[in-house]
Amino acid sequence: MSNEFMQLSLVPLLIGILSAVACALVGNFLVLRRQSLIGDAVSHVALPGIVGAFLITGTLSAGPMLIGAAVAAIVAVLLIELIRKIGNVEPGAAMGVVFTTLFAAGVLLLERTDTSKVHLDVEHALYGNLESLIWLAGESWGSLFDPAALAELPPQLPRLAIVLIVVAAFITIFWKELVIGTFDPAFAESIGARPTITSYALIIMVAIAAVAAFDAVGSIIVIAMFICPPAAARLMTDRMGPQIAWSVVFAVLSAIIGYVLAGYGPLWLGARSSVSAAGMIATVSGLILFLCCLVGPRRRGVKFAANRT
C-alpha cells in the first residue's frame, strides 16, 4: 500500500496541491480587482504559445514553452487594450474576442501538426493528465532521501515548487503595494505606490502560475483555482490576511479531497476505473464555494448593508 501510494499518488497529489495554492494566492487579488476572468483568458491564450514553441523547437521542454506562453500572453494583453480603445467596447467583450481567437489558432495549429510523438493535444490542454505524473523510483519512504530516486521525480514537481515560492515571495514583498492598489488605486498613485506597475506585475505572476500549472494539470484546474478558493475565502472574512489564509486552506482541501475522490471514489461505488482528478478537484472547489455562499459569515457585503438602511 505504502509503495503504491509513493509511486502513483504522492507526486500527483503534491503537484495538485502546489498548483492549487499557487493559483489561489494570486487569485485573491484578481477576485478583489474584478479581474477574475483574466485567469480564464490567460489559460486559453497559453495554448497557441505552447504549440508555437513546440513547432519552433520541436520539443516540449519547459523553457521554450514558458517563453511561448509568455509571448502569447503579452500579445493578448496588447490586443485587448487595442480593441478596447479603438473599438470602444467593454473590456470583457474585448477579452472575449482575443482569447477565443488565440485559442482557435492554437486548436488549428495543433490539429494541423504532427504531435503524435509528444503528449500534446486539445484534451490534454484542457484537463491535463495529473494521474500520469507518477514516480516509479519512489519505492518506499526511504526514497525521499535517496538522491538517485529523487532525480527521477517528474520535472513538474520542482518547477511548481519554484513557482509557488516565487509567487509567495512576490505577494510578501509587495504586500502593501498590492493591497493598497487593489482597494484604492487613486490613493496608491498619490503616495507613490505605482498601482499600474503593480497590476502589470500581478498579471505576469498570473501568467507564470497559469503556465506552470497548465502544463501539469490543464487549464480547467487553473481557472477554478484562480477563482473558487479566493471567492470562498472572501465570504469568510473581511480582512486581507485571513482571506489569503482561508484561500490556501480551501485550495489544499480541494486538491486533497478532489484527488482522493477521483482516485478512490469510483472504486467505493463499485466502478473499475478512476475519473479525472483535475475535473474532480475543480468540482470540489466549487462545492466549497457553494457551501460558503450558503453559510459563510461574511457572505453579504456592503451592498446589502447599504440597502437595508
Binding site: 474584478r34 467583450a93 472575449g96 484542457l126 480547467i220 472572501r234 468540482t283
Partner: protein, 402 residues
C-alpha cells in the same frame, strides 16, 4: 482551390450544403443575440453558459447510452446541455444577487466548476466502454465532419426558430439595453426581458455546440457584434450587420472545414470571424484605423497650411519641409518660396479668419474655450453667420472686402 469554390457554392453534395447553411443560420442568430448581450454589457455570461453545458451533455449521453445503447441522439444531448447551462445561469444570478461576490467571479466559478464536473463525467463515459465516446469529443472544439443529415437539419431548424424569436423580441431588448426606466414605463418587465435574452443566448449556444464546440461557441456571440460596433452607432443596423458577419464567418468556416478531416470547424469559424473583425477595424469609415489615419493626415495638412500662410503674411521665412511641400502642392508658393497670386489670396483669407477668431476669443472667452479646435477650423464653418457678422462690425476699420 477548385474544391473550395465548388464547396463555397454548395456544389459538393447535399450534406455539406446543409451543414454550411445550418452553420450560417446559427452564425446569424448568434450574432444577433450577441449584439444585445454586448449592449447589455454581459458578453462573458455566454462563456459561463457554454462551459456549463458539458455536464448536462455528458449526463444525457450516459443516460441515453444506458437506456438505448447509443447516446448520440442530438436532440437529447441538446436538452441535457440546456438543462445544465440553465442551472449554471441561475447560479451566476444567484451568487451575484445573494452574496458580495461580483458577476465576473460568479461567471468564472460557474464555468470552471461545471466544466470540471463535465470532465469527470467525460472520463466516466470513457470507462463505459461503449466505444461510442467519439460522438461526444466533437462537442469540445466542434466537428461537422461526418455529421448526420438529421443532425444538420435539427441545427438548421433550431437556429431558424431562435433567430425568429430574437427578431420578434428586438424592441424590448433594445429598450432594456438603453433605457430601463422608459422600458418600465412602457410596461416592459426588465427581469422577464433579461430572462428571455439569456434564454435565447442559451438556446443559440446549445444549438451551436456541435458546430463550433463548447469552448469556441462563445466567440460567435462576441466577435461579430464587436466587429459590427465599428460600422454603426445604432442598435438595429448593428444587429443586422452582426448577424450578417456571423453568418458569413460560420458559412465560410464550415465550408473550409469540409475540405479535409483535420480541420476543426469551430476553430476555423472563429478565425474567419476574427478576420472579418480585423477588416472592420481597419476599413470602417466611422472609426476604422484607416479612416482615422486619413483624418489625422488631413488635420496635419490643415495645420501646416495655416501656419505657413501666416508666416507668409508676417514675411517670415519658412523652414519646415512639410509646410513648404503643402504650400507648393496647393499652388500657394512658387519653387523659390515666393507667394503666388492664389497664395496671396489665401494669406488674406487666413488673416481675416485669424482676426475674427482672436476677436471672438476676446469677446467670448468661455465659448471659445469650448469651441475645441478654434484656430484651425475656418470660423465660417464653426460659428453661425450672425455671430460672424457681429464680429465683422467690430472689425470694420480693418475689414477685408469679401
Amino acid at each position: 482551390m477548385n474544391t473550395f469554390l465548388s464547396a463555397l457554392f454548395l456544389q459538393t453534395g447535399y450534406n455539406t450544403a446543409l451543414v454550411a447553411v445550418g452553420a450560417a443560420l446559427l452564425g446569424a442568430s448568434a450574432g444577433a443575440i450577441g449584439t444585445f448581450v454586448l449592449l447589455r454589457k454581459r458578453s462573458l455570461v455566454s462563456d459561463a453558459i457554454s462551459h456549463a453545458t458539458l455536464p448536462g451533455l455528458c449526463l444525457a449521453f450516459i443516460l441515453m447510452a444506458l437506456a438505448t445503447g447509443d447516446g448520440r441522439w442530438i436532440a437529447g444531448l441538446m436538452i441535457g446541455a440546456a438543462a445544465s447551462a440553465g442551472l449554471g445561469l441561475i447560479l451566476v444570478e444567484w451568487v451575484t444577487r445573494r452574496t458580495r461576490l461580483t458577476e465576473d467571479a460568479a461567471i468564472g466559478a460557474v464555468l470552471s466548476v461545471f466544466f470540471g464536473l463535465g470532465i469527470v463525467l467525460l472520463t466516466v463515459i470513457q470507462s463505459l466502454e461503449t466505444g461510442r465516446q467519439a460522438g461526444i469529443a466533437g462537442y469540445l472544439v466542434g466537428s461537422t465532419a461526418g455529421m448526420l443529415r438529421s443532425e444538420a437539419e435539427t441545427i438548421a431548424i433550431a437556429a431558424l426558430i431562435s433567430g425568429m424569436a430574437i427578431f420578434a423580441l428586438r424592441r424590448p431588448f433594445t429598450l432594456v439595453c438603453f433605457d430601463q426606466e422608459y422600458a418600465a414605463v412602457r410596461g416592459i418587465s426588465i427581469r422577464a426581458t433579461d430572462l428571455a435574452m439569456m434564454g435565447l443566448l442559451l438556446a443559440t449556444t446549445v444549438i451551436g455546440l456541435k458546430v463550433a464546440g463548447l469552448v469556441l461557441i462563445v466567440a460567435l456571440t462576441i466577435i461579430p457584434p464587436v466587429a459590427a460596433r465599428f460600422w454603426t452607432d445604432r442598435p438595429e443596423p448593428m444587429v443586422i450587420i452582426a448577424s450578417m458577419l456571423g453568418a458569413i464567418a460560420a458559412y465560410i468556416g464550415a465550408v473550409i472545414s469540409s475540405l479535409d478531416r483535420g480541420l476543426p470547424t469551430g476553430a476555423l469559424i472563429v478565425l474567419v470571424a476574427f478576420g472579418l473583425f480585423v477588416l472592420s477595424m481597419l476599413l470602417s469609415p466611422r472609426r476604422g484605423l484607416l479612416a482615422s489615419a486619413l483624418k489625422q493626415r488631413a488635420f496635419q495638412i490643415d495645420v501646416h497650411q495655416r501656419q505657413g500662410l501666416m508666416a507668409l503674411a508676417r514675411g517670415e521665412a519658412i523652414h519646415d519641409a512639410f509646410t513648404l511641400k503643402v504650400l507648393k502642392r496647393r499652388g500657394f508658393i512658387r519653387a523659390d518660396g515666393v507667394a503666388t497670386l492664389a497664395g496671396r489670396g489665401a494669406v488674406a483669407e487666413v488673416m481675416r479668419d485669424e482676426a475674427r477668431w482672436s476677436l471672438y476669443r476676446k469677446l467670448y472667452p468661455d465659448d471659445a474655450a469650448t469651441a475645441g479646435l478654434a484656430g484651425v477650423t475656418p470660423i465660417t464653418d464653426a460659428l453661425p453667420d450672425d455671430i460672424i457678422a457681429e464680429l465683422d462690425r467690430h472689425l470694420t476699420p480693418h475689414k477685408v472686402a469679401t
